[in-house]
């Protein structure tokens, strides 16, 4: 099994197209970091403008605000919307790409069971997703920490602001990246499932993105009838729950409680729903693939 996984990873990382995603992430992160390095104050002013009616912020506070942690939060907010496309590029190609190249039929004449083949293929796309996230974490988090330094972190919400102490932030990012890995694996599993039905990779990639876009719009829409009937069951409604790690509890005086998460059960429930989707998508793809006649 390990040998087969090594083969899959070798094939993925030998393809030039694999590095498009790494390049795209590096470019976006770099552009955001450069922009905020040279014009960060304008950005902070813009962020604060929504709250300025009820809060008064000193210049010193604004300077402290613009640190590596906030920059990473901004990047994560931007990139985690685009990441599903990058993940679908590889997962959507997993089976359909092999069918298109004609290598699927040769691979399946080897003494490897179809279930084993699917497990290895899926594991490889999960590893790719993780590699992409680690790359993003290295650039967005550690890169920003190096460029902008660290300080207490402030997150803006519609209800007000969340403030976390410097030492209380890094673990939250680790948890958020872990959660993002599960969220992106859900997209990967969907693209993987669609890949089983197709004979070229464009179809599953476009179909995955279309589904993600439609469901995201549904998740974001404020239509009361959908709020309790559909939204809680859409995986897209739970993909942004990583932000929950940055919402903290406060004591009676309104002071932030270090190490706390405002609504951990909600975050865990979202995590469970995403995991259930992964199991559903993957087991369906194995079930379909085991019965499929290979005609390409």
């Amino acid at each position: 099994m390990w040998k087969l996984l090594k083969i899959e990873l070798f094939k993925i990382f030998k393809r030039p197209r694999t590095y498009i995603a790494f390049g795209a992430i590096a470019a976006i992160v770099f552009l955001i970091q450069v922009a905020l390095k040279f014009d960060g104050k304008s950005y902070v002013d813009l962020l604060m403008s929504n709250l300025s009616g009820s809060f008064e912020f000193s210049d010193e506070f604004k300077d402290k605000l613009l640190n590596g942690y906030l920059i990473c939060f901004v990047i994560l907010n931007t990139l985690l919307i685009q990441m599903p496309l990058l993940v679908a590029l590889i997962a959507g190609d997993s089976i359909a790409g092999e069918a298109n190249m004609g290598t699927l039929r040769l691979s399946l004449t080897k003494p490897v069971s179809r279930t084993q083949y699917m497990l290895v293929k899926f594991a490889a796309s999960v590893v790719y997703t993780l590699a992409l996230l680690i790359w993003m974490a290295a650039l967005a988090l550690f890169g920003s920490m190096l460029i902008f330094g660290t300080n207490d972190m402030v997150v803006l919400r519609s209800e007000g602001i969340e403030q976390m102490k410097d030492f209380d932030v890094l673990w939250r990012y680790m948890a958020a990246f872990g959660y993002a890995a599960v969220a992106l694996t859900t997209v990967s599993a969907l693209a993987f499932l669609l890949s089983v039905f197709a004979e070229n990779s464009i179809g599953p990639i476009i179909a995955t993105m279309s589904i993600v876009i439609v469901l995201t719009i549904l998740s974001e829409m404020n239509i009361p009838i959908y709020d309790k009937t559909i939204k809680p069951y859409l995986f897209t409604s739970h993909m942004v729950a990583w932000k929950g790690f940055f919402y903290v509890k406060a004591d009676a005086e309104g002071t932030t409680i270090n190490g706390s998460i405002e609504n951990l059960p909600a975050v865990l429930r979202s995590l469970g729903i995403l995991m259930a989707y992964i199991v559903l998508f993957f087991s369906t793809s194995v079930w379909v693939f085991r019965k499929k006649d290979i005609l390409t």
């Binding site: 040998k3 087969l4 083969i7 070798f10 094939k11 030998k14 393809r15 030039p16 190249m101 004609g102 290598t103 039929r105 040769l106 691979s107 399946l108 004449t109 080897k110 003494p111 490897v112 069971s113 019965k291 006649d293 290979i294 005609l295």
Partner: protein, 311 residues
Amino acid sequence: MGSIIRVDRLTKHFRDIKAVEDLSFSVEEGQVYGFLGQNGAGKSTTIRMLLTLIQPTSGSIDIFGMNLQRHRKEILRQVGAIIERPDLYKYLTALENLRIFATMSGIKISEKKLMDQLAMVGLEQRANSKVKTYSQGMKQRLGIATALVHDPKLIILDEPTNGLDPQGIADIRNLILMLSSERNKTLLISSHLLSEIELIADSMLIIDKGKKLVEGRVNDLFDPAETVVELKTTNDEATFEKLSGSGFQEFVQERRNDCVLLKLHRNRIPEVLKELVRMEVNVISLHSKHSLEDYFLSLTTGQPHVEAPKN
């Protein structure tokens, strides 16, 4: 010698399309077995069922005396195959492709052995070139190397000479003959070209519309000395009349298009020529055709060009 492949009443339907119908045959150990049929006759579907790529609707397949469904892994460990085109990872080198398929076949193989395998198909100089830079013939040879990398007992090649130039076809033919005679492999080779199969196969099966038409040893199905002569003259009608009234009456088959067909032993051709000169027939051309080619066509197209030899 025992049966390496035993197919019993194999059937595959794709909804309303009957791709293979009640097909039974067996391949003996050490044989080169030709699997013939026109394009769309059901050859590839049958081969895909032999390789578990397609699930049969009914019937059974035993390979090496084991049921294919129940012993898939054990069987495929000893089978090497190319199905239609030798599609490989074009962005990888020949050596990398070979290593991948060797690992998937469950064997550990040294770099030297991989290079030996490439040398066998004449690709050792291009071992580190990406497959996308290969010609069709080179891809085909690399495909054969990947099929043989784990030293299988049974080799299944589906249309192995498709898209190859004459030299490429000759190279593949020689390789097949070498595998059979020197390495004692059992080979099942499908083709729609009879001329190709008869040069290499011991036995053959001809199918059409998914059904078996005939199966047997090539020598039993066909007398190599028997030939069909296509005779073109300035007046075919008169020639046909004259020959039908001569001592060669029994050899005259029919008048077709712009020629007269005769079926006879090769040794009798000079006599026919003498007779034509004696009858003052103006011969434009005399072309000796392979009678098995006509036999094959008569079986698969349903048009009896010449009388089929009896089995």
